[in-house]
Chain length 473, copies 4
């Protein structure tokens, strides 16, 4: 884990002169080094990728299956090592780090299976006279070279959600991991390299900003898939030229707890949704709305739960919350909470910062115009407010520029239906938190929260191009 | 409407020596005549059908679409005439007769659309080494000649549910309508005959019992599709030889009204479900279970509704209930009600017979062993009982040899889920009666209620045979 | 046909001060007038569209079906009138104009059917432990307001390919027809207006360039769907902001005639592919490659066919080729042919211009660098060249920045397979011309020929946004 | 391998008093013993199966996946042992035995994946007014207890094609292996037993004929799936009562070699198709038709190939052909060949018997009425005949009561299309033998060759029952 990591370029492990020191956010110390690619290395990776493009088109699905299953098995064998790297470079508590590794394994398994299930179609052409005597087939071909850009918060699984579908689709991919957390995917590269995947099909390379930008605009890429912040993402779309674009951005996810909810379950899940990995999660529960009849009970139990949180060293098995990714972010969160408090919000729990660590914080009496409500906080902060009518609760959730996922705890059919019909989000979780995700479901946001969907099969949809064959019958 | 009807054999309208007088069940008088085929006519129809079999395979889907849409339009143009024939031969009140005609139109429209959407597939063959370099297509071919046997209670639409899918699938079909209500489909034959459908593809012929039985066992038919009583249906399955069999039989459908139900809606719909067309409906609501907290209110309102029913001449626009199909059936219902009363059941409303007319009847305090509970009553009788625990209500519904459809009025998610998971039926209607059906949904029973599904696309599934083509890629 | 046409804005027919005279390209004379919207009118149309957005989400599919079928019937009733307007504003020979009207009818019928078949999904969530006890549904919601921009060459059907799927999907749409040929869709607006479609759901408005550009960049639109030239289309993509973009552009479609081809059929179809509507067709056959063994025979028969073409008045039943859309375009074509001739190309037929009319022209001995080969000519010009090896013919077709559709006349399985595997296009037509299209098939190009697919169901895919509901099971 | 085997009843390994000695067909000696269940044991197995029925319905798909993958891995680990048992009990040459084991592994993997992909549906209910405001879901539930009856010729994989889909579908299954070859599946039972599959879900029990017949008629089974001879199969269908029936029977598969075929490939594949495992294969190539222009060349090469076959001990790596399953069968084949020779057929190769061994035999000048043509020979015999017109070759293939699979070696599109359109079989293999099968493709015959399809997903279709939930939207 400690030491020197090389990047993976066109089937070779190599280094560049532009060094990148990787800091452990909990200790604040550099614990490993790697290096970043410039445009020269990027060009080389693109060339290698282009050279295998044709081979990948003809790659039988069974072989792709075997390779992807081998990668899944490889990660499983090195589960603890992967979890350890995640902890070290991201300060994610070990219990969550292990969960992320398990999901990455599952993501590769799902991709292996989907590789055998590309969506070919048979079409009847005889609907009108000009098509009589004809039939058609649609086969799906890899769209071409993919540019993947992954974030720091799930350094393994959110990268895997680009790598695995690309391999399954037969697209070469060049992945830029986050500069804060590049090591997990570099370790993954070693596993990939041991398979029969043609060299050049996958490159994993930390990049400086300039080279990252080149990747966005370069027309040799057919698809850009980015997971990160809305501000950065939407700008990329305009600079993307002729390529396809998929954006997985963030939000200020809302959760409604109704009077028919199982309150204990709602509290337990909300605590995880609000504070797991210090809220540095795209679908972090940021805004909770509780029906007036159960508001006091819910809030009391919730605060009680907050107070029991164990913070500290992320390598410790019992730790539930640790340092944020860096002090700058902790300061930003502190500033937003302060702004809210000044504006009249009441701090029910937490609110304090210690270096890069920020306490689990609960606010109430907030206004929608406050940053803690309207922007993506990406920190361990949640607001709890009271509502009277369910429709108004829906309106409150929708009163946002974002729309990723939402949660509703209810046992009432009409409320479930109304939530599905009216919530302007990518996904609604009944009796679960907005942060619920399994790796084969369609995942992604509407409004400013994103463009397109991930979730293996859904990612693959964007990595494939239909081609029609019309023939005599 | 009044007069002589010819049957439709291999594209020609003709008669036989075996006359069939059609009686109006309300007036009790013969109002029209037709004749029945014997084995000679059946043979001729089979020959004609066999002669067009090959042509139908090559019939372009667009042409099938046009023919089926033309039939739909033809029925629409003659809507009142069709409704009138249904009223005359079945004593179905005109309001319901019109509804049946509208559904038959819709069934042809759906079939027209599905004719263009036969389920062709493209298959990846490369999952293992022996398939490398290969791909496959599955096309669906008509299975062959279809034997259709239709019941009296929906003389048009339940026949159309066999005719329309057969035409859409490219299968020739010989339909035996009920001997009580043969005229509606014979009128339909005139519309079919005016289209470009190859002559011989559809024959519609009343038959005597012996000829009907021949149809069941004759190996020249590839599929038998029967709608009628369980006793007759299951016997057919054993005599069917090598052919496929679809059975749409009856049941003793149950309905649960929970404490979270919209009671007024539940009452209004249950009244229709229990008494429309005197309960002579496969998915007639026969057993109602009401939660103890709302039992009294529900029952009071229900009885109030029963007392407002207008009975009488089925041609009268205001009539809601009229004579049963024949006096024998009314007597059978009377007998079953009497048996229940003797056994301790309380008659809350109705219970009396007048010739072929039987009053809308409500029973309570019944036991599961009584015929009114355990057998299919096929008459205007319903039982209402009280329940305390939802799970027990589900058990009660399942305690039956039948399992067609069920209804549950509830606004509670967990109850909806439990009903879906545990009710052993073909379909569960939340906030509607067991009798809910639209013509494109899968429809059919489990246990003794049936074998296979109807509902255009689902019927077509049984009328088609997959054929695989494996080829180089 | 002759006279004043109003545009259709938010359910009302109205005019603006910015007049637009419509010229008959064959006579060169103004025969009708309409007017163009400015930004003020566009704003008003957007407001009206936004006002019905919610209503459209709840619009039952059956009602959308009825509306779309009513529009289809309305066009059918006015078939000759529509054909007449197309002839007048575009100089398309009446035989082809009628074909276009028939296809527009079919496009609405297909959309009616697809309105009932939005792609809802049921998802098993239990693949891993965190999803146990859960299930999910995906429903598809209208993406929002659609901006449609249609070209002059199929003034009716290419506009309908945006209007019909938008209505089927429940998206409001504002359509900008071509300024050269705005009348056909304005006539269509009258039919749409008579249906129960909520007012504001469809606006059809000619626009000046500035307003057209506003539509591209305005963030109130959720989707831009453009059919037109590559140069214009790709620029739009960069200016489109956060919206989705579909581009249906052109190409320089190639056709291969192999030695196993049915030559007479190949000649007959190629003549239509090369010269129908003077080649002003996105999938116009521009480059023909013929196997050396049949080159002479094919070319001789082809030239013979060219010489029999009847040119003249497009209203004349026998006319096969008439004036181009305007003299500027005819001059451009003349210039490109001249350039080719100078560079060594041999003119086998045609080559001359008379005002806006350009003769059907056949070139050989061309080089790939000539404009007649490398750019989209959008005129009645085709090149015929000889090939020896099939693989080289495929390479020749692919040696282009475009990739819309291609045709291959062959009876050899290995050639068919190689064409499907290697031709970088959206669709390959075996034994037909690149210009083959039926309205329900996926249609669209790769490389510079487009972005996304049309063909009712495929267009709808882009007009719909998935929304996931995860719930207890 | 040698020794005593217990059967697997309701999660326990046990024996009965009715002993079954297993003979090695090559040595003719008993090498192992097991015992057979009577009705008492069958009853017990049914009870155990019924007891776990409910648990299996709620079994999460991810757990079924894990169990099925564990079984696949278990077989892989014991690959050589399994191959050895197959060789010993069936005299299948080791090279083919290994292939069978590999396919069984793959069948379990496919079933694991399909367990996660049961065909749930979302249905729009709003096509007509009565469905407005409603939506529906279809989920698929296990149909109930499955009776599986497997044949001797693929003792492992043809049993697995019943076991794996049953586990994937959540149906308990009782499997009766062939009395000649019961050991492979009893070994498999040990692997299944080690997984977390609820005990009782799978029983594997050799049975005497009477008990086997009970299984056919017993109404506690919901589905009977039989692989074996046509005579036995069709009789079962009539005795099956209310249960579903799937029959995988045999045939007299035909193969056409056209003048455009790759002859060397055709010869090589035909030799395997005709003689692998002494033709004791349901899709054994029994009738070859060769175009007159290549008949002599094909036949010469084919005979040359036959003469190179290495016969002998099936445990020998080089052995290609060994003893038949028993001497009775060898004698039957001898008798049929003799009948053909008497009738005028010419024996081009082979024709002689030595105990249970029958030589690879090639006949020509046969007549369709001879048993070697019209019945399923299930032995190492093939006929080769000449044809002139392709249509006649198709007719020849169709002139049979059977229709399982067929092969056509051709490079001509029109021939491929004609074969697909006209051959009355379940599957057509272009450029391969009728015996081509991969385990995820739909497999099964028409006419007397079968009823229904296997191939994991397709088998599961019959093991599942749809259940509809209609609810408010």
């Amino acid at each position: 884990m400690i030491g020197e990591y090389q990047f993976y370029l066109g089937g070779e492990f190599c280094s560049s002169d532009e060094k990148l020191a990787v800091i452990n956010p909990y200790t604040g110390k550099v614990f490993a080094n790697t290096s970043m690619a410039g445009n020269l290395e990027l060009d080389k990776a693109i060339d290698k990728a282009s050279a295998v493009k044709e081979d990948l088109i003809d790659f039988p699905s069974g072989k792709k299956y075997n390779i992807l299953m081998q990668i899944a098995a490889g990660i499983k064998d090195a589960r603890e090592e992967f979890a350890g790297i995640i902890v070290a470079e991201s300060a994610k508590p070990i219990r969550y780090a292990r969960g992320e590794v398990d999901r990455a394994i599952q993501t590769f398994i799902v991709a292996a299976e989907e590789a055998k299930r590309l969506p070919g179609e048979y079409l009847d052409m005889e609907w009108t006279a000009p098509g009589e005597g004809k039939e058609a087939i649609v086969r799906y071909f890899p769209v071409g070279l993919v540019a993947g850009i992954a974030p720091f918060n799930f350094p393994l699984n959110l990268a895997v959600h680009k790598l695995a579908p690309a391999i399954a689709s037969g697209c070469p991919i060049i992945l830029k991991p986050s500069s804060s957390t590049p090591l997990t995917t570099l370790r993954l590269a070693q596993i990939i390299d041991r398979t029969d995947l043609p060299k050049g099909a996958v490159s994993i390379i930390p990049m400086n900003r300039e080279t990252g930008n080149s990747m966005v605009s370069d027309d040799r890429f057919a698809l850009l898939t980015f997971t990160g912040s809305p501000a950065v993402g939407w700008k990329m779309k305009s600079n993307a030229g002729k390529k396809k674009v998929v954006l997985e951005l963030g939000g200020n996810a809302g959760l409604i707890v109704t009077e028919s909810a199982d309150l204990d379950k709602a509290v337990a899940k909300s605590l995880v949704g609000s504070f797991a990995y210090s809220g540095q999660v795209c679908i972090h529960t940021q805004r909770i709305l509780v029906h007036k009849d159960v508001f006091d009970e819910f809030t009391a139990k919730f605060i009680e739960g907050v107070q029991k949180f164990r913070s500290g060293d992320p390598t410790d098995e019992s730790t539930e919350i640790s340092a944020m990714i860096d002090e700058d972010n902790a300061k930003r969160v502190e500033e937003w909470v302060r702004e809210a408090a000044k504006g009249g919000a009441k701090v029910l729990a937490g609110g304090k910062r210690d270096g890069g660590y920020f306490e689990p914080t609960v606010l109430t009496n907030t206004k929608n115009s406050m940053k803690v409500c309207s922007l993506e906080i990406f920190g361990p902060v949640v607001t709890i407010e009271k509502y009277t009518e369910f429709d108004r609760a829906l309106t409150y959730i929708n009163d946002s520029r974002y729309g990723l996922q939402a949660g509703v705890f209810t046992n009432t059919i009409t409320e479930m239906n109304a939530a599905f019909r009216h919530l302007e989000v990518g996904g609604i979780m009944i009796n679960d938190i907005p942060g619920f995700r399994v790796d084969h479901m369609p995942y992604g946001g509407v409004k400013d929260s994103g463009f397109g969907r991930e979730g293996v099969k859904y990612s693959m949809h964007d990595m494939l191009e239909p081609r029609l064959l019309v023939k005599d019958k």
